[in-house]
């Protein structure tokens, strides 16, 4: 009879661990990523997830010609460098932080409003046999009215 009793306990425990992990992403985004926006006003949206080494995420967003933007992409210290690229609708790469020593932020403005795609990838520690590292990655946007 002990076996059935252990199931809900284990389920609750494991679910609670997973929720806590994501809760940590919010704290991470708030404490580490948002300050990277500096003088730009955070738009209030939240994009964060736990990513594993080598894993990729994409974000689609419209950017407006009236604004100046800063995007901040940060990963927890326990994961390797986070690479991010910004592409237009025709897959042309407009920016890659790999060319800027894995910079965490990029400031930009647009002559005309565009829908752009951000591709975020956690690079790899390249240690075969080890359990792949995983951790929070947050993508935050700040804006200000174009001068």
């Amino acid at each position: 009879m002990r076996i059935p009793r252990i199931i809900p306990i284990l389920t609750l425990l494991l679910i609670s661990v997973s929720f806590n992990a994501n809760g940590q992403c919010k704290a991470f985004a708030k404490k580490i990523c948002i300050p990277e926006l500096g003088v730009y006003t955070h738009d209030g949206n939240y994009h964060a997830a736990i990513l594993v080494e080598g894993e990729e995420a994409e974000l689609y967003k419209t950017f407006y010609s009236d604004m100046e933007y800063r995007v901040a992409v940060t990963g927890e210290d326990k994961i390797p460098e986070v690479e991010f690229k910004v592409l237009d609708a025709n897959k042309n790469v407009l920016y890659s932080n790999k060319d800027a020593n894995y910079a965490k932020t990029w400031d930009f403005k647009l002559q005309s409003s565009q829908q752009l795609k951000l591709v975020v990838k956690v690079s790899s520690f390249n240690k075969p046999g080890d359990t792949p590292a995983s951790g929070c990655v947050a993508i935050m946007f700040g804006f200000k009215i174009k001068k």
Partner: protein, 307 residues
């Protein structure tokens, strides 16, 4: 004993697999697992759609209520309190869907009031947004200390914007992190519609051609597929399914607007350390299409606020 241990291990493995599945499928109201990424195919955007199908994690980011309000102000539009959803309506919203949509709507109204320094309205709309967030069970989204801080800094627009941004993030991060992507999506949809509603209502038809606000409204066509993808990721939820039908109706009107963009040329400006994405755009929206768009938005928004 060994047999019992074996059964226990199997059960544990099943529980762990189930939990791993849960972890993989939640976190992030706008995050779409690979197999759930169903998209509406835009006429000229098949490459983008293919990408969406291939990607493992996708965020469909709509402009936040704060950004929408900022766009209205930057277009030089005036403030009109009549356009906001009256705070007296708060008690009408009792379902999760109506509370989620109106959390977005009230946050947009709050942002609009903040940018135009409408001090009393700022407090009223913050309280209305709090009521919606509390009703949805979002813990610590808007705390009394933040309302007190708002009152203390009522003439400091920078602090007010910070508070609005922080409280909105508290709501959508809570919903995303607690496995409620459908509610998180509905909050964003409510805010986006309110921004579009206010914009369309503020356009003076005598000053239609070259109107900056009209330009910002045309720009929203760029977000309509993002909006549909965001909702599609929670397809199967009856409230979301209803919204998809309404948004598709709006897309039909947006499809009558043409936007042609030249190739984007990034140019780095050393002085400001900023990249300028240069491109030329040609848009076309007739006054008739605008009127149709305006009435469709108004009709849909009415179903949100009248509940």
């Amino acid at each position: 004993m060994n047999k019992k241990y074996g059964i226990c291990s199997k059960i544990l493995m099943v529980v762990m697999m189930f939990t791993s599945l849960l972890i993989g499928c939640k976190s992030g109201g706008t995050k779409t697992p690979k197999e759930e990424a169903k998209v509406n195919v835009p006429k000229d955007n098949t490459a983008v759609v293919e990408d969406i199908k291939q990607a493992e994690k996708i965020f469909n980011a709509l402009p936040s209520p704060l950004e929408s309000a900022m766009l209205i102000k930057s277009a030089g539009a005036r403030f009109d309190e009549v356009l906001l959803n009256p705070v007296g309506n708060v008690n009408n919203y009792v379902t999760n869907k109506s509370m989620a949509l109106n959390l977005g709507i009230y946050t947009c109204d709050l942002s609009f009031a903040s940018l135009y320094e409408q001090t009393q309205l700022i407090i009223d709309y913050m309280n209305a947004a709090k009521k919606m967030a509390d009703g949805l069970g979002i813990l610590k989204a808007i705390e009394q200390s933040q309302i007190d801080k708002l009152e203390e800094n009522i003439n400091n627009s920078e602090v007010i914007m910070e508070i609005v941004s922080e409280t909105f993030m508290n709501s959508n991060s809570y919903l995303s992190d607690n496995g409620q992507p459908a509610i998180a999506a509905m909050v964003l949809v409510g805010g986006w519609f309110e921004g579009l509603y206010i914009s369309t209502q503020l356009v003076d038809m005598k000053d239609f051609n070259g109107n900056k606000l009209v330009g910002r409204i045309i720009d929203q066509k760029l977000s309509i597929d993002i909006l549909i993808n965001l909702l599609e990721s929670s397809k199967g939820n009856p409230a979301v399914d209803d919204l998809i039908v309404q948004v598709r109706k709006l897309k039909v009107v947006f499809d009558k607007i043409s936007i042609t963009t030249s190739k984007i040329r990034p140019e780095f400006d050393k002085a400001s350390n900023t990249t300028i994405l240069k491109s030329e755009v040609k848009t076309d929206m007739t006054p008739e299409v605008f009127k149709e768009l305006s009435s469709t938005v108004s009709e849909i928004r009415k179903t949100f606020v009248n509940n």
